[in-house]
Structure formats: C-alpha cells, structure tokens
C-alpha cells in the first residue's frame, strides 16, 4: 500500500494528488474516495457570526506520527491500495482548503469507510489545534460531541 502524509502551510492540489494516485494505481483500483475540508465563513453553531480566519497549530513530529497511526489503523481494517492525507497548518481564510483525505481500494465500500474513518479520527485524535478568529475575538475550537460519537461508533460503541 502506498501511503503519503503531509503537514504543510502551503495549499495543495486535489487534481495533482488524484492524478498521481491514478498513475500509481494503474488498473487495480476500482474506487477512489476523497474528502476535502474547507474553511467556512460562519462559526460553527452560531449562524450569524462571521469567521475571518482559522488558525491551525500543530506539534511537528508528533502530529505527523498521530496521522500515521490513524492511517495504519485504517489500513488494518480495510484492504486499501493508496492513502493520501494532507493537512494544512497556519492561518487560513474562508473558502481555503484545510485537509485532503484520499483513499483507493478495489471496491467502494473500503474506500468510503477508510476515508470517513480517517476524517473522524483527524477530528478527534490527530494532534492539531484550531482557533477561529472573528470580529469579536478568537476562540479555540474543540471536537464536538458528534465527532466523539462518530469515533465511538467505529469502535462498536453506541
């Protein structure tokens, strides 16, 4: 399995990552599932408060290893052929790309499940911190109760 994990300030190209994966895969993959997270201009839970920027912080070294552990867990659960995770850090403005998860497999169920699993774990386990800046100040964002429930569901929880 090809796996690629990058934490970077610069933007990424979905087209380049998808194209590179197709070159690597040839004709053995029947399914490529992908997800891109974007900065929304509204604060979560407060429909009328505009977000001016999202600042992402990480712990170099530990953050990459936390993502590697998530990808390894996914690769143990599903027969994956190719996984790419790119996560940006730094100050991102509304509409900017934050994260790309791309998973390829022979069949769609594994590709979908792995992509969603990795996103759920990035939300709750990967070593990042997020600060939302709005006109009224800044606040640190935490994983939501729904995020934690989704991870619990992957582990047989209710």
């Amino acid at each position: 399995m090809h796996r690629e994990i990058r934490v970077q300030e610069q933007d990424f190209s979905v087209a380049a990552e998808y194209g590179a994966a197709r070159e690597r895969l040839g004709a053995c993959a029947g399914a490529v599932a992908s997800f891109v997270g974007l900065v929304r201009d509204l604060r979560s839970g407060a429909a009328d408060e505009a977000v001016e920027a999202l600042c992402l912080e990480h712990y170099p070294g530990m953050t990459e290893r936390s993502i590697e552990a998530i990808v390894a867990e996914a690769a143990g659960r599903w027969p994956l052929l190719d996984v790419v995770v790119i996560h940006r850090v730094g100050r991102l403005e509304p509409a900017a790309q934050i994260v790309l998860v791309q998973a390829a497999s022979a069949h769609r169920s594994a590709a979908f499940a792995a992509c969603e699993f990795i996103m759920d774990y990035l939300k709750t386990e990967a070593v990042f911190w997020k600060r939302e800046e709005s006109r009224d100040g800044a606040r640190w964002v935490e994983a939501t109760a729904e995020d934690r429930h989704r991870v619990s569901d992957w582990n047989g929880g209710g």
Partner: protein, 84 residues
C-alpha cells in the same frame, strides 16, 4: 539537568509562552517539573496545565504522569486536539 517544556494552543495562552527550558536537579520527576513551573509561569497557568482534559507528552509520546525525567527530555502540555 535541562528539560524543554512546550505549551500548545490555549495552554500557550495560559502560560504566556510556547517553550521554556527548565533546569532541574538530577533524578527529577514530572512533579518536580510542575513545582518548578509554578514559580516560573504566570499566575493561573498551573491550574490550566492540571486540567482534566490536558494530556502530557514525554518526548512526543503521550505519557501518563507521574514519570521520571532525564537530561534533554521534552515535555509538552496538550489541550484537547482537533484537526480535519
């Protein structure tokens, strides 16, 4: 011995700094470090570091205190994480 201590996100705000080198006696433990930090950080910082949801990493591995420290160790205080 010297230990490097790192504070992230809201804990950096609480501590008022992101990294600090702390000099400790040989055979110091995590508790000795916390005592030292109490004198070196601004008021209220220790309470933030001791909150239930704060995790501690020793040399970039999550480690449950108490633990012993060695020369050159890196100790980090991590508030709740979220990525994606």
């Amino acid at each position: 011995m010297k230990v490097e201590v790192r504070f992230f996100a809201s804990l950096r705000d609480a501590a008022g700094l992101d990294v600090r080198e702390v000099i400790l006696p040989d055979e110091a433990s995590f508790d000795s470090l916390m005592n030292a930090l109490e004198h070196e950080l601004q008021a209220g910082a220790l309470d933030a570091l001791r909150a239930d949801n704060v995790r501690v990493a020793l040399n970039q591995e999550l480690t449950q205190p108490p633990f012993e420290l060695a020369e050159g160790d890196e100790v980090a205080f991590l508030p709740p994480v979220t990525g994606g």
